[in-house]
Every structure is written in structure tokens, then in C-alpha cells.
């Protein structure tokens, strides 16, 4: 063992000792992301794998989300302490009277988009008029519908499944896509970006923040410090994951394999890179998890006008600032 390694080991021991000293005081918490363990959630898995949660006094169990176990349901049932939800889902839940708090708006930029083939003559929003547009379920329809209204478009809406095959086969002219996921699937079926027209909603004044971390009001009131620790550790996990993306991808690929989810590394790499684009929006480039009131009200009013909620919940009752600023 070299001198350098000895020194390193000594340093590690000093750093780790307070944590190992408090080992028995780790708080057990359960977290569920709203979808399968793909790179969309790399930061949380990275924090768990690399002991970042433990460093912050948390022993985190991450459940696998997805269509079979919607994160909202597990949060509702108390099977999870923390869950990620889209802001629109969170607002909808709150409006239905569910006492969940947003404690961090991790993804503040919308990745939802519409994709069209230039070969089908769609180059501008107005070219969509009269065309068949594939849309996902209701939460995913708010932005496109606002978009159609904004550009005064009359389109034929076709329900879209989880695959983009209908679009690839020209069954629809326009498809819904997540920038970090389906868009790359389309590229991976042999379409070049130059052959596609993309409409990212955040570029059309329809930025709906997406994943945020939610916790029940009761749990928050019980232990707000734990909630702050979870947010801090998660942010640290994201920062670390972006800093060593290949290591983060190793973790993601391992988790997907364990869940028998077919996955390709290039796809996950694309996803992680896009998550960095979506998450690292702070100034200077970094993670800012504060939910802005104007973002909140943009989403809420659109949900309200779309008939998805009847009342708009108060921003203050919805969001608890768990950043270091907010703690003061």
C-alpha cells in the first residue's frame, strides 16, 4: 500500500466516522419514482448506491415505479414516504384534497414535445392543422391542447400508446414524445434529427415543470429535517451522477436488468444527458429545486381551464421550500 493510499484511507476514515458513529440513528424512508428505474431517476439511485443518503442520515429504500405501481397510489397508501410526481399530477392530487406537499421541483423544464416528420409536410405548428396527432393520457394532453389553442389548430387526436410505432409507420402525423425518451427511440429507428420537426413545449411558452419530490403533510410535519435531508441528498446524488455519467449508467443498467426491462446503454446515456439539460438550469449552472409561483400557477390555471381541477390550491399550502434558503 503506497503512502498516498494510506493517507487516503486515513482521510476516508475521518470523513466516514461520524456517519458510522450514527449508524443506528439512520432514518428508514421509502421512496418511489413515478416510473421504471431508468436514467430519468439516475440521481436518486446514484445517491442510494454511493451512500449519499446514508451520509445525510437516511436509509432509503427505493421502490420501482411504473404502470403497475403508480407512485401517487403508493404515496396515498402510505407505502412510500417520498415520491416523484409531475407537477400537474401533484396539483391535481392537491386539488382533489390529498394533503401532499411539493418539497423540491427537481425538473423545472418540460421535456414533453411533439414530433413530426418533415416528409409529411410539417415544418411549423400551423402545418399540423387537420393532421392526426398522437396524444397520451390526460396529464400529457394539457400542454398539447394549450398548444393547439395557442396556434388555433384543429387536429385529429389519436390516443397514443407507450410505443411510437404508430408514428413510425405513419399511422399518425405527429406524435407525443419525451425529449429524453421517445424522441431518442425515433432516432434509434433510423430517423435523423434533420428529418424531424420538433416542438418542445417549454419553447412555446408552455413550460410545465415535471418531476418534483412529494411527501405527505403529516410526514413533513413529523420530521421536516428528514425531508430537507432527503432533498439535499437527492440533489447531491444528481450532481454526482452528472459528474460521473458512466458510473451512473452502470447503476441504471444494473437496475433495469434486475427488473427485466430491456434497455440499451446508448438510450440511457441519451436520457441522462437530457436530464442534465433539464435539471441543470440554475444560475450558475447547477441544480435549483425551488418551485416558482409563476410556474405553479401556469400549470394550475391550465389544469383548471382544461377541466382537470375545480379549484386552484394555494401555492403556499402546496409547496414547502426545503432548500437551504427556505430553511432559514
Amino acid at each position: 500500500m503506497s503512502v498516498r493510499r494510506l493517507l487516503l484511507a486515513a482521510l476516508m476514515a475521518v470523513l466516514i466516522s461520524p456517519i458510522s458513529g450514527e449508524a443506528e440513528e439512520l432514518k428508514n424512508v421509502v421512496f418511489i419514482p413515478q416510473w421504471v428505474p431508468q436514467a430519468q431517476f439516475a440521481g436518486y439511485y446514484f445517491a442510494q448506491e454511493k451512500g449519499i443518503y446514508r451520509k445525510h442520515g437516511l436509509d432509503v429504500t427505493i421502490l420501482s415505479g411504473g404502470p403497475q405501481s403508480p407512485s401517487l397510489d403508493l404515496l396515498k397508501e402510505g407505502k412510500a414516504d417520498f415520491a416523484t410526481l409531475w407537477l400537474s399530477t401533484g396539483v391535481q392530487a392537491r386539488a382533489q384534497g390529498l394533503k401532499f406537499l411539493n418539497i423540491a421541483q427537481v425538473v423545472r423544464r418540460s421535456a414533453l414535445m411533439l414530433v413530426a416528420k418533415k416528409s409529411r409536410g410539417i415544418l411549423t405548428p400551423w402545418d399540423m392543422n387537420g393532421k392526426k396527432v398522437g396524444l397520451w393520457g390526460e396529464i400529457f394532453q394539457i400542454q398539447p391542447k394549450a398548444f393547439f389553442k395557442r396556434y388555433d389548430l384543429d387536429v385529429k387526436i389519436v390516443p397514443q400508446s407507450f410505443s411510437v410505432n404508430l408514428f413510425l409507420r405513419d399511422g399518425v402525423d405527429v406524435a407525443s414524445a419525451m425529449w429524453y425518451n421517445e424522441y431518442h427511440t425515433i432516432l434509434s429507428a433510423g430517423f435523423d434529427p434533420e428529418e424531424l420537426t420538433t416542438f418542445l413545449f417549454h419553447e412555446h411558452g408552455l413550460n410545465f415543470p415535471e418531476e418534483g419530490i412529494y411527501v405527505s403533510e403529516d410526514r413533513f410535519n413529523q420530521d421536516p429535517e428528514m425531508c430537507r435531508a432527503f432533498v439535499r441528498a437527492s440533489v447531491e446524488g444528481w450532481v454526482a451522477a452528472f459528474a460521473s455519467p458512466e458510473e451512473a449508467l452502470d447503476i441504471v443498467m444494473r437496475n433495469l436488468k434486475r427488473e427485466y426491462i430491456p434497455a440499451t446503454r446508448v438510450h440511457q446515456r441519451w436520457m441522462l444527458q437530457r436530464m442534465a439539460d433539464l435539471i441543470l438550469t440554475g444560475e450558475p449552472k447547477g441544480i435549483e429545486t425551488k418551485l416558482l409561483a409563476r410556474d405553479y400557477y401556469r400549470v394550475a390555471t391550465n389544469l383548471h381551464s382544461g377541466g382537470l381541477i375545480e379549484t386552484i390550491p394555494e401555492f403556499a399550502s402546496f409547496y414547502k421550500d426545503c432548500t437551504d434558503d427556505g430553511a432559514k
Binding site: S161, N165, L166, S188, A189, T264
Partner: protein, 645 residues
């Protein structure tokens, strides 16, 4: 030795370079041609293999397609009951071994106003026929939605069916329509699921050379079969291309999913080897089959052939090198021996034996020539020795003759120191060889002084002998007290007698009366002497009309008479003076002689002769003297004269 290496190396360099160029061209040409032949064969084979495989696959697919298509026609054209539908589906699954499951999925409420989802499904479950209603909202599933939106039958992307034990499946869906109130509307979708295991087996069994293989990708580029199982259903050709950063692969993939056919270079995803790939689409569902022919394995034969050729050529080169050195050695060895002998001969050793060259080639000829040259040289040298000895003898004899000739001319000046009435000075510069000039003077008696100057025709010993004879004859005749013309007659007669060699002599003969200064002279064809008067005029003596002595016996000579005044001088000379030539072959000439004499006329005899001699030598500088130069000057002083030499 160095020269030997020179020839051998030069030969080797040029011949081997030439052979190398020829070989390289032939080799390259043959390589390119054979490579192209192989490439053409590979392309044909690949195309055949691909199209036969595609046909086999497509025949199965087409057979499967017919079943739901027929069912759709049935559903469109005939009224049906619940029982009919189930029976039909059941029959489809039961009677078609390739078909794993089938359903007729209706549009919402199309089957019944009360039922939203109606999709009875028969399928094989571990070999047993099972039945269920599809329990989920199937309307936005690909197998339902794609044919619906396209209004056309369609194959689905391949998928893993968990219920069938993780077998890979694909579904063929056919929309069917019914006319309600005159309008043709979609009523539902008929599907047939087939397992793709046979496809994997069929394509998996493709083996080309050692590592060549076939693979199938779906319409989206997803690997349906591939020897590298981690790719199957996981990756698309495009994600692999992205991972490898391989833009060319992506382009090939785009051609493949567009349903094109082609022959391209493509890396084996299995071994990484460069391969030739033929790809063509399955007509039924636009999936694309690729068959890969590993380049190095197919080129192995030609490569080993090329290797053999290269080794053979190298061996040939070595052999050629040895042969060149051997041949050049056999040429240069005798040459070297000859050169040694030549060097030895150059030192004068003509006894050295010439090496015996047995070959009949140029070198043999050279050796022969060399030998005869040596012998000729030897002969020539020995001849030369003799000739030289003879020449030396003759030369010494000539020298003696010359000495004798010179010795018979009076050479002591002044010859008569006690006679003050006149003075005489003669000078002769003989040419290299023994010449024919003569001069003489003597007293006939107390008063009469004879002087003579002449020039015998020709040169050499005969001329000198003739001259000696002439001189003796003149002296003999003159001392008999004859007149000048009689002396000439007599001498002429004697010389002409038996003169078979036809020699002749020009002669000037004069008698000076030392008391009166009277000069009687007779000229036999000689250059007329000049009278240099004391006053400074120069006059040639009048001719006496005689021709050269020894030419004609009956010739008669006359004489003339002049009287020299005190201080007058006579200048006599031979044609060696006036015919001296300069470099431009111009003669010194009598005119020039007269000119040169003018300033000298008052000078002493010695100065006159040395002055003229000096002028002649300057005139003919650089030109060898061709003839004897003889001058004689006689000055008359009378009784009171003083000798001034």
C-alpha cells in the same frame, strides 16, 4: 575486385529492379482481378443466399397472412353469430400449426351496443388450446391501432410474449369493415400471432465460412435475430451504430429499414471482422435480412496464394541474384586477368602469358585480340629496335658527312690577313639535313681572286656529294687559268656527264682583280648577287644568261664584267635567304632583302651578314629552317684599303 562488384551490382540492381517492377505489376493485376472475381462471386452468393432465405421466410409469412385475411373477408361479407366467431377463431388456431394465437377484436360497441371491448382470443398454452377475452383496453395497442389508422393489414414489431413462455412473437393484423347505413366503417381487427422461434432457427443456422452469419432486423431496426443474443429485441442497428460512433453503419441501417437491397462492407458485430454484407427486405413486413461474408476468411485462399507467390518470387530473386553474380563473375574473371596482364604489359613486360579464355564469346575474342596485340607489339618493338639502330647509324653517318661537307668550306676569316685590297666574309647556316649550298674562294694567282657560291638541287648525302664534286671541279678548272665562262663550260660538261640522277647546281662564279677592282662573273641560274656601292645604292648584277650546271652538256655560258670602286661590296646569297618563309608561308623575297641591305651597305661585313641573318630569323620565327642559308660579302678597298673585320 571493385570493378567486378561494380558490374555484378549494376547488373543485379537493374535486372532485379526490372524483374521487381514486372512482378509487382503482374502481381497487383492478378490480385485485383482475382479479388474482383471473388468479390463478384461473393456478391452473387450473398444475394442468392439472402433471396433464398427471404423467400423461405416470406412463404411462411404469406401463408400466415392468408388466414386472418380470409377471416376478415368472411367477417365483412357474412352475417355472424357469437358461436360462429368463436368457432372461426378456434379453427384458425387449431388448424394452423404456425399460428400461436388469434383474435377478432371489435371496435368499441361494434360487436354489441352494450359491450365496449370485445376480443375473444384463442391461443396455445403449452400445446393446449386456451381461451380468454382480452382483458385490457386494446384500442391504442399497436397491433390494433396501426392497421386501424393505416386502413391496411400490418405486421407488428416483434415482441416477447410472457404468457407463451418468453417466446418471440409477431402479430399480423387485418382490419375488417362493415357497412352501416350505407357507410363502410371499421368494425374491428383480425389478428394472428406467430412465434418467431423458427425464424431464429432458420437464420441462426446460416453459417458462412468460419464466422459469417445472418441477422434480421425489424422495420424499426430492432434486432430480431442475431448470433449475439444480447442485441436481440434490445438494441436497434441504430443504437449499435450510435454506441460505436459509426455513421456509415447508421446509413446502411437506414437503407435497410427503407426496404432497399444492397451489397456493402459491414463490420461483424460478433467478431468485429470486416465483412461483405448483402441485405434485402422481407416483402411481407419490410423487415431486413443481412448475410455477412467475412472478408478475410473468403480472401484466405487468395491471401495464402499471394503469400506463396511472394515467397516463390523471393526465392526466384535470390536465385536470380546468384545467377547474375555467377555470370558476371564468369565474364569479369578473365577480364580481370586480362587487365592484370595489360598492366604488366604496360610496364614493358611482353613476355607475360595472356590468360587462356576458352569461351567463344566476346571475352574470348578479346583475349585472342589481346594475345595477337601482344605478339604484334613484340614484333613491332623488335623491328623498331632494328630500325632505330639503323637510323642511328645513318644519322651518325650523315653527321659525319655533314661535318665533312662543312670542313671543305673555308671557315677561317679573315682568310688572307696580309691582303688589304679587299675583304671577304662568308656564312652558312645549314638546315638540319646535309645541305647542298656551297661557297668557296681562292686566289688563281697573285692578283685574281676567285669566289663562288652555289646551290645543289635536292638535299642529303647525294646533294652534298654533288656539291663536293662541284666545288672540287670549280677549283680545279679555275686554277687552270681559264676565263670565267670557260670554267663554267667545263664544270658543266663534267657534271652533265653520266648525270643519271639528273642533279644540277646553280652557281655564281666570279673573279676579282684585286688591283683594278674589275670583276668578271658568270652566273649559272643562281640568284643574282647585289652590288652595294660605297654611295649606298644596291644593284643586282646583270644576268649572264646561263642555266643551272649539270642540266645540259652543250650549254654555253657567258660572262660579264663590272668594276668595283673602292668601298663597293658584293653581296652573294643562296635562295635559303629569299625563300625563308614566315608562318603564313610568305617568302622573305628579294625585295625585302634589298630593303634590308640598304641601311647596312656602309657597315662592316660582319654587321651586314649578322644584320640580314637577324632579319631572316625574326621573319621566319617559329618556322623550322627548310634550306641552307648561305651569304658571302666581298668588299673592295683597292691598294689603300684596310681590313675592317
Amino acid at each position: 575486385m571493385a570493378r567486378n562488384r561494380g558490374i555484378a551490382v549494376r547488373l543485379a540492381t537493374w535486372i532485379l529492379a526490372g524483374v521487381a517492377v514486372i512482378f509487382t505489376v503482374v502481381f497487383a493485376y492478378s490480385y485485383v482481378i482475382s479479388r474482383n472475381i471473388i468479390l463478384r462471386n461473393v456478391e452473387t452468393n450473398a444475394e442468392n443466399l439472402a433471396s433464398s432465405t427471404v423467400n423461405r421466410i416470406d412463404s411462411v409469412m404469406k401463408a400466415v397472412e392468408k388466414v386472418p385475411k380470409n377471416l376478415a373477408i368472411f367477417l365483412e361479407d357474412f352475417p355472424y353469430q357469437y358461436g360462429d366467431i368463436l368457432r372461426q377463431i378456434r379453427a384458425v388456431v387449431e388448424k394452423n400449426p404456425e399460428i400461436y394465437g388469434a383474435t377478432i377484436a371489435f371496435e368499441p360497441y361494434a360487436y354489441s351496443m352494450n359491450i365496449r371491448n370485445f376480443a375473444p382470443y384463442f391461443y396455445k398454452n403449452r400445446g393446449e388450446l386456451s381461451f380468454t377475452y382480452i382483458p385490457y383496453e386494446y384500442f391504442s395497442w399497436d397491433w390494433y391501432q396501426i392497421p386501424k389508422e393505416l386502413n391496411a393489414p400490418a405486421w407488428s414489431e416483434p415482441y416477447f410474449d410472457e404468457g407463451a413462455g418468453q417466446t418471440m412473437m409477431a402479430t399480423f393484423s387485418v382490419p375488417f369493415y362493415r357497412a352501416t347505413s350505407g357507410e363502410k366503417r371499421l368494425a374491428g381487427i383480425v389478428t394472428a400471432d406467430i412465434s418467431l422461434d423458427w425464424l431464429q432457427e432458420m437464420i441462426g443456422s446460416i453459417r458462412i465460412a468460419q464466422t459469417g452469419y445472418g441477422f434480421l432486423i425489424s422495420k424499426n431496426g430492432t434486432f430480431v435475430t442475431h448470433p449475439k443474443s444480447s442485441l436481440v429485441m434490445n438494441e436497434t442497428l441504430f443504437t449499435v451504430a450510435e454506441e460505436r460512433g459509426d455513421g456509415a453503419m447508421r446509413e446502411v441501417g437506414r437503407c435497410m429499414v427503407r426496404g432497399e437491397s444492397g451489397f456493402v462492407l459491414f463490420p461483424s458485430l460478433h467478431t468485429g471482422k470486416q465483412c461483405w454484407m448483402w441485405y434485402s427486405p422481407l416483402p411481407s413486413n419490410q423487415w431486413s435480412l443481412g448475410v455477412l461474408f467475412p472478408k478475410d476468411e473468403l480472401m484466405a485462399d487468395i491471401h495464402s496464394l499471394n503469400q506463396t507467390i511472394v515467397w516463390l518470387s523471393l526465392a526466384g530473386f535470390v536465385l536470380l541474384l546468384i545467377m547474375i553474380f555467377w555470370i558476371s563473375g564468369s565474364i569479369t574473371r578473365p577480364l580481370r586477368a586480362l587487365s592484370r596482364a595489360a598492366r604488366q604489359m604496360a610496364t614493358g613486360d611482353l613476355e607475360i602469358p595472356i590468360p587462356d579464355v576458352k569461351t567463344r564469346d566476346e571475352v574470348g575474342t578479346l583475349a585472342g585480340s589481346f594475345n595477337s596485340m601482344k605478339n604484334s607489339l613484340k614484333q613491332y618493338i623488335s623491328d623498331l629496335k632494328e630500325t632505330t639502330a639503323a637510323k642511328e647509324r645513318i644519322e651518325s653517318e650523315l653527321k659525319i658527312a655533314h661535318d665533312i661537307q662543312m670542313s671543305i668550306l673555308p671557315k677561317i676569316f679573315p682568310p688572307f690577313p696580309d691582303r688589304t685590297e679587299f675583304d671577304v666574309l662568308a656564312f652558312m647556316k645549314p638546315a638540319k639535313e646535309v645541305g647542298g649550298d656551297l661557297y668557296d674562294f681562292f686566289f688563281m694567282d697573285e692578283e685574281n681572286f676567285c669566289f663562288v657560291i652555289g646551290d645543289v638541287s635536292g638535299k642529303g648525302v647525294p646533294a652534298s656529294l654533288f656539291m663536293a664534286v662541284t666545288k672540287t671541279l670549280v677549283k680545279t678548272k679555275a686554277t687552270q687559268g681559264l676565263f670565267a665562262e670557260n670554267v663554267m663550260d667545263r664544270v658543266n660538261q663534267d657534271l652533265s656527264l653520266d648525270n643519271e640522277s639528273m642533279m644540277f647546281v646553280t652557281l655564281f662564279f666570279g673573279i676579282l682583280n684585286t688591283v683594278t677592282g674589275e670583276v668578271v662573273y658568270s652566273n649559272a641560274g643562281h640568284n643574282p648577287p647585289f652590288l652595294l656601292s660605297a654611295a649606298g645604292t644596291i644593284t643586282p648584277l646583270q644576268p649572264t644568261g646561263g642555266i643551272a650546271l649539270g642540266v645540259a652538256e652543250e650549254c654555253v655560258y657567258r660572262s660579264r664584267k663590272i668594276t668595283m670602286q673602292k668601298g663597293d661590296a658584293l653581296f652573294l646569297y643562296t635562295d635559303g635567304v629569299t625563300e625563308a618563309m614566315d608562318e603564313r608561308e610568305e617568302l622573305f623575297s628579294e625585295g625585302r632583302l634589298m630593303q634590308d641591305l640598304a641601311p647596312l651597305s656602309g657597315k662592316s661585313l660582319k654587321e651586314i651578314i649578322s644584320g640580314i641573318m637577324g632579319n631572316v630569323e625574326r621573319f621566319s620565327e617559329g618556322v623550322p629552317q627548310a634550306d641552307d642559308i648561305t651569304m658571302m660579302v666581298i668588299r673592295y678597298f683597292g691598294d689603300k684599303g684596310t681590313n675592317s673585320i
